[in-house]
Amino acid sequence: MKYLFIDSATANLVVAIVIDGKIVYLYDNNDGNDTSSKLMPIIEKAFNESGISPKDLNKIFAVTGPGSFTGIRVGLAVAKTMAWATGVPVVPISSLEVIASSGKEDNNIALIDARRGYVYAGGYDKDLNVTFKDAHVFLNDSNLSGNFISYDNFDFDTTKPNIDILKVIKKHLNDASVNPHELNPNYLKLTEAEENLKKKNGSKDK
C-alpha cells in the first residue's frame, strides 16, 4: 500500500511517502516560511525518490488544520487537486493529532499558538484516542492539563514534537475517505470579519 502524507498547517512542514508500512521519504522540518514555494518541489522529490507517481497511491492523508490559515490552504489545495486528478481517496487528519503523535502519556495536549492568549488545543492518549476534542480556546480559562506538546513557545513547560506519522496513518487507515471537493480546511475559527458581523447582528437582535 502506498500513501502520501501532507501537513502544512504549522511552521513544521511535513511530506511523507509510506510504502507497505515503511516511510520511504520524509520531509519534516520546522523551517517555517515559504511553504508555497517549497511544497511542490518537495512533493516532486518525494515521488521521484520513492519511484512511484501520484496515480500509484492508494490513499492521501491530508492535514486540514487547525493552524495557519494560509498554510492549511497551501497543503489542502495540493491534496484536493491531486485527489481529484488521480481519483485516489483522501482522508482528513488533524494537525493537533499529528503533534500529539509523539506523546507517550495518557493525556498528551497538543498546542498551536493562536495569538492573543488563544491556542488551538487537542488532547490525545498514546494510541491517539481523543481525550480533549480539538478546539480554539483562551488558554488561561481552559483548565487544560496534561503532557503539553508544541512547536511554539509558552511560559510553561512543553515538549517539542517528534511526530510519529506511521502511528497517525495506522489510526486512520480505515477512515472513510471524503470527496476531494469536500476536503476543506478545519480552521476552528471564524474570520474576524465574520465574528464582527455576528456581534453586530447579535446586538441588533437584543
Binding site: 494560509t70 490552504r73 487537486t81
Partner: protein, 336 residues
C-alpha cells in the same frame, strides 16, 4: 505545414472570483466557469481577503471540473496550465497557484505564470486579435495602468495610479452617497441622470502618465460632509456626474496623450471599469476624431475571469515563459 491546436487550461483566483477556462490558440474560448463571491463580500461592504481565500479553497476543484466538463476535453488534450501568479490578494492567489502547480505536476504539463494585467489586456484577443503597436488602458477595482505594447507579450508600463485604483475610488464615492456595494456601476448609472454642478478638482492633471484618485475621492467625501454640516441636501446624481466627469476627463486625456506621444493608432481598454458607460462614450468619441482603432471587450471579459489568463498564457507559452514548481504568488509585481 500542419499547425497543431494548443489548448491552455487557465486558473484565476486573484481576488473574489474563482475561475477556470480552457482556451484554444489564445483566441478561442472553449469553456469558462466563473464563480463570483460578490454576494458574500457585499455583506461586509467590500472584499474580505480571508473570506475570499476560504471560498477559493472550497471551490477550486469544483470549478476546474466544471470547466473541463463543459469543454468536452480531457486533461490529455491540454498543452499547458496557466495561472495568475499576481498581483492580487496573496491568500487568494495561492489557492489557484497551488492547484495549478499540482495539475502541472500530476499531468506533467508546462506551468505558465500569467500576470493579471497581461490577462486583462489579452481579454481583447478573444474579441479580435491584438494589432500592434498598441496602448492599453487597464482600469479596474485594483488597477489603473497605461501600457505600451510593441508586439505580443512585450509590455512597457507608461504609468499608473499612485494611490487608489479608479474602481476603488468609484466604490468609495458610492458608499459616501449611500449606494450598496459594489457601487461603481451604480455611480456610472446615476452619473447619466445628473448634472455637473459640483466644483471638484481634476486629479493629477500633469504631463506624466500617472493617475491619482485619492484627492478626488477625498474632495467628494469633504463635499458631502460639508453640505451635510450646513444642513444642505446633496444631490447624489449630481455628485455622481461631477465625479465621473473628472475621472473620465483625466483617463481620456492621458490615454490620448499616450497614443499621440507614441504615435500609436490602436487602443484597447480592459478591466472592470472598462464597462463604465461614461468612459466608453468619451473614448469612442475621441478615438473616432483621432482616427484611433478602439477595442473594448464585452463585459464578461472585463471583469476577472480565467479566459483572459488562458489567452495571455498561450503567448507566454509560445515564448517559452514557463515556470518551475517553486513558482510563488506575488501580491505586487510589475508587468514585464
Amino acid at each position: 505545414m500542419i499547425i497543431l491546436d494548443k489548448y491552455i487550461l487557465a486558473i484565476e483566483s486573484s481576488c473574489d472570483e474563482t475561475s477556470v477556462s480552457i482556451i484554444k490558440n489564445g483566441t478561442v474560448e472553449i469553456s469558462t466557469v466563473v464563480l463570483s463571491q460578490m454576494d458574500t463580500h457585499a455583506n461586509y461592504g467590500g472584499v474580505v481577503p480571508e473570506i475570499a481565500s476560504r471560498m477559493h479553497i472550497e471551490n477550486v476543484t469544483l470549478v476546474i471540473e466544471n470547466a473541463l466538463e463543459k469543454s468536452g476535453l480531457t486533461m490529455d488534450d491540454i498543452d499547458g496550465i496557466a495561472v495568475t501568479y499576481g498581483p492580487g490578494l496573496i491568500g487568494s492567489l495561492l489557492v489557484g497557484l497551488m492547484a495549478a502547480k499540482t495539475l502541472a505536476f500530476v499531468y506533467n504539463k508546462p506551468l505558465i505564470p500569467v500576470h493579471h494585467i497581461a490577462g486583462h489586456i489579452y481579454a481583447n484577443n478573444l474579441v479580435k486579435p491584438l494589432t500592434f503597436p498598441l496602448i492599453a488602458l487597464v482600469v479596474s477595482g485594483g488597477h489603473t495602468e497605461l501600457i505600451y505594447m510593441k508586439e505580443d507579450y512585450s509590455f512597457k508600463r507608461l504609468g499608473g495610479t499612485l494611490d487608489d485604483a479608479v474602481g476603488e475610488a468609484y466604490d468609495k464615492v458610492a458608499r459616501v452617497i449611500n449606494l450598496p456595494y459594489p457601487g461603481g456601476p451604480l455611480v456610472d448609472k446615476l452619473a447619466h441622470e445628473g448634472e455637473d454642478t459640483y466644483n471638484l478638482p481634476l486629479p493629477l492633471d500633469d504631463d506624466s502618465y500617472d493617475f491619482s484618485f485619492s484627492g478626488l475621492k477625498s474632495a467628494v467625501i469633504n463635499l458631502v460632509h460639508n453640505e451635510h454640516q450646513k444642513g444642505n441636501e446633496i444631490i447624489p446624481q449630481n455628485v455622481a456626474t461631477s465625479f465621473q466627469n473628472r475621472v473620465v476627463e483625466i483617463l481620456t486625456k492621458k490615454t490620448m496623450k499616450a497614443l499621440k506621444d507614441y504615435d500609436v493608432s490602436n487602443l484597447i481598454v480592459a478591466g472592470g471599469v472598462a464597462a463604465n458607460k461614461g468612459l466608453r462614450e468619451r473614448l469612442s468619441k475621441e478615438c473616432l476624431e483621432a482616427g484611433v482603432d478602439l477595442t473594448i471587450p464585452e463585459i464578461k471579459y472585463c471583469t476577472d475571469n480565467a479566459a483572459m489568463i488562458g489567452a495571455a498564457g498561450y503567448y507566454a507559452y509560445k515564448l517559452g515563459r514557463t515556470a518551475g514548481l517553486d513558482l510563488n504568488a506575488k501580491a505586487n509585481d510589475e508587468l514585464k
